[in-house]
Amino acid sequence: MGWLSSDEWQAVALSLKVSSVAVAASLPLGILVAHALARWRFPGRGLLNALVHLPLILPPVVTGYLLLLGFGRRGVFGAPLAEWFGIVFAFRWTGAALAAAIMAFPLMVRTIRLSIEAVDPRLEQAASTLGAGRASAFATVTLPLILPGIIAGCVIAFAKAMGEFGATITFVSNIPGQTQTLPTAIYSELQVPGGEAQAARLVAVSLIVALGALLASEWLGRAVARKVAGA
């Protein structure tokens, strides 16, 4: 890619990696939480709902700072994770993925939850009378029916992760090759006098990636919806 410098190219590749990992790693939890909020009645449901949505409302800087307190080298969770499992978030690309996942989580859960609520819960009852346990009934009936919603949730979460800036820069800073993602790279270039031309190239890349993701999700969503509805 001749028209991008190696630093810029690194930023693009890192953003793609961070966003993909953020979405893939949070998807199982996202489906579980969406299902719990849509179908189960339990104490603390309102609190869980509020917690999930918190990153949407909090200033991203605050989320990033809380992440730093929680998952930094000496953080409540960061210290034991580093000590026992060797997992370090602070100033690593993994931290950027964690920040992106948390910021994108509410959008993912909302989208999947809406699609679960659109599925008739009595279909799972029918599955249970046919001998399917709770987990099998979910996997064989509800899951295929909400696949379009899951895809939509992943795409919107991916797009959010690609654009995540505030929490990322607060939590893992802006280290080229380590934690510098597309938005933080654009920010850095705009800080340098005369950097607009370079920034413009990254802006173009952002546009292409975002548009491509949207088109791909539209196409995929339609194909899956056709298969599911089967009309």
């Binding site: 008739d120 009595r122 279909l123 009852q125 029918a126 599955a127 249970s128 009378t129 046919l130 001998g131 399917a132 346990g133 709770r134 099998s136 009934a137 064989t140 009936v141 295929p144 029916l145 298969k227 599911v228 509805a229 089967g230 009309a231």
Partner: protein, 361 residues
Amino acid sequence: MSLSATIHHRLPGFTLDAAFSAGPGVTALFGRSGAGKTTLVNAVAGLLRPDQARIDAGGAVLTDTARGIFLPPHQRRIGYVFQDARLFPHLSVSGNLEYGARFAPRAARPSRARYSEIVDMLGIGSLLDRRPGALSGGERQRVALGRAILSAPHLLLLDEPLAALDEARKAEILPYLERLRDLGLPILYVSHSASEIARLAGHVVMLDGGRVIAAGAAGDVLSDPATATALGQETGALLAGEIAAQDPDGLTRLSTPAGSVWVARPDLPVGAKLRLRILARDVMLATAAPEGISALNILAGKIERIDPAPDGSVLVRLRLGDDAAILSRITERSRRALDLEPGMPVHALLKSVSIAEIAPG
């Protein structure tokens, strides 16, 4: 296999307090909407956790609140055909049918031959590749029946499987239900239609306001004056008969325990067994053998009991021979004019007789 259930469950504005048992064959749970029929079958299926209940099937305890036993629905092996079919929209017809077989225990899993047999019996062979969205209401119910049977259940629950269908579709499904009954699987059949029950059920459990008001053989329950309020215009008796002769003028003579009855149904062979349904409103009474009257079917009997009905009429139960009884609904004024009392011999004039069912074999 037999099922016995005692269920107490409180819902807002409604209390279900019912005990019943069901043996092999078709047992109908019968009553008006809101009588508690669906609540009852949901409790049997395990879709509802009753406040207090003991339900066992073939010796296995499904629910016993006193001992804290509640078997989840997927371990009960009870097939359930819902009023709205509830086919899985993302699976084809064959996918839906195979879903039923997929979770059956290995030993009970239907063979390829059994699968085709059920598909043929229900006449759904040409629909296998279709999606539920592309099926008619009657086709959907047939697929739902097949799906439930292929899960190899010990008991089948049918919750008003015909209620959402028009008359033509009902007529299309009923023969399949008769074949299903003849498979020998115990069936609990929920309905508010007396004619469906007269046609299908051997036993009837009648519910009203969450309580069992009558239970027993279909003929007895349908002709029990205690059930007349719940049945309304549908009150009537069942009479078993056998085709005795085909008369040349197109009428068919049936021999019944109550005597000979003529019906216009010439397309059945001599010896075929039938079940006749005689509605109480179609039976007139005479104290002497009537003469000069166009009615063909006149049966002699004795008044067994007389019960007042809430609308000012009275319901007269006649004993006809040893093994048959019919009901007649007349006005209180007629009763007084004829001075009818239990024990009096009378003649019953049947204005109309309908064939409820053609018995198998």
